[in-house]
């Protein structure tokens, strides 16, 4: 049985844990999407939840609208309308539906 840590050693270990990458703040995706969705809805977006999910899918890549649309193979205008909350789920291009589904699967 290892000897108990001294106060100094315990304090140093706690400080090291705080610095460890595992202590970084993890984005609560659903909460953030919900907040953004609220703002979009307040701004008049009809499909705010879909818009927030799409904005998240693009946001985590850091890419701008045009680059993301080109990479995903969708029309820029179509993506802009969807991110603006103007497109219902059945009318989303298939690749955007795939992105939105993949975005929320398994994340907190």
């Amino acid at each position: 049985m290892p000897a108990p840590l001294t106060d100094d050693a315990a304090s140093a270990r706690a400080a090291a844990r705080r610095r460890h990458p595992s202590a970084r703040w993890l984005v609560p995706v659903r909460t953030l999407c919900a907040r953004v969705s609220e703002r979009l809805r307040a701004g008049g977006a009809e499909h705010a939840d879909i818009a927030a999910a799409l904005l998240h899918a693009r946001g985590v890549t850091g890419l701008d609208l045009e680059t993301f649309a080109a990479r995903a193979g969708v029309d820029v205008e179509a993506l802009a309308r969807a991110e603006g909350g103007d497109v219902a789920w059945p009318d989303l291009p298939p690749v955007l539906r795939m992105l939105v589904r993949g975005d929320v699967r398994g994340r907190p």
Partner: protein, 240 residues
């Protein structure tokens, strides 16, 4: 089998249209994210949270400690960090690259987010505590700090003595001068809206505080411009 559409990632960013041939800018770099937020790209809020959220969380935790909150539920911290990211998005247009990082530049605004949460979740007030009196009177400790510091500097630093004399001639009261000083200090520390930060302390609305600052600054400027003995104050921060 139909070819699959590649999902864009940050590991293979495409060069921008203006790229001179050098490496493309990191799309998650803070200046790039802030520029996109300033341009109204809501997706950049997620970029900010994903790639810089830990540092924003650090500022939030620091402000919580200053407010006397040593422990916070993870979900409450999450909410505060998210609100701070949204607050940064709202003021991104005013941030300039090369200065303080956004979460320090807008530290006052993040403090406002934290203070509002602390105010809602603080313990119930003592029934004997006079809320009206607390709202109208500035915190005495703060007044004494600024008053004591100013009084000391008037004797030690000639230009501060000149400021005190100019205020006397311009009929700028001591309380108004301290308000001016605090406003300037807040602004220099990166607070994008010092009026909102200081208004509760002075028991006035942010607009009233701005008018007070503006009115007294104008009085000082008139006196400084009219009397040659105050010429050294022409470029002083309170009147410039």
């Amino acid at each position: 089998m139909a070819p699959t559409t590649p999902v864009p990632t940050t590991s293979d960013p495409a060069p921008g249209p203006d790229a001179p041939g050098g490496p493309p800018p990191d799309p998650t770099a803070v200046e790039v994210v802030m520029a996109r937020l300033a341009a109204g790209d809501t997706a950049a809020v997620f970029t900010l949270a994903e790639h810089h959220g830990s540092r924003i969380a650090g500022v939030v935790r620091r402000h919580l400690r200053h407010c006397g909150v040593d422990r916070i539920a993870p979900e409450d911290l999450d909410g505060l960090v998210i609100d701070s990211c949204l607050a940064l998005a709202d003021v991104a247009g005013a941030w300039r690259h090369g200065g303080a990082l956004p979460w320090w530049w807008a530290s006052g605004r993040i403090l406002g987010v934290v203070a509002e949460w602390v105010g809602v979740h603080a313990d119930a007030l003592d029934d004997r505590f006079d809320l009206e009196e607390a709202r109208t009177a500035p915190a005495p400790t703060d007044d004494e700090d600024i008053a004591a510091t100013f009084a000391r500097l008037v004797d030690e630093v000639p230009i501060v003595g000149l400021v005190a004399e100019a205020c006397r001639v311009a009929r700028v009261e001591e309380a108004a001068l301290f308000c001016l000083l605090e406003y300037r200090i807040q602004k220099d520390q990166g607070d994008p809206s010092p009026a909102h930060t200081l208004a509760p302390r002075y028991g006035v609305t942010p607009e009233a505080l701005r008018q007070r600052v503006s009115r007294n600054t104008r009085r000082l400027r008139r006196v400084v411009a009219a009397e040659p003995r105050f010429a050294p104050l022409a470029d002083f921060v309170l009147v410039a």
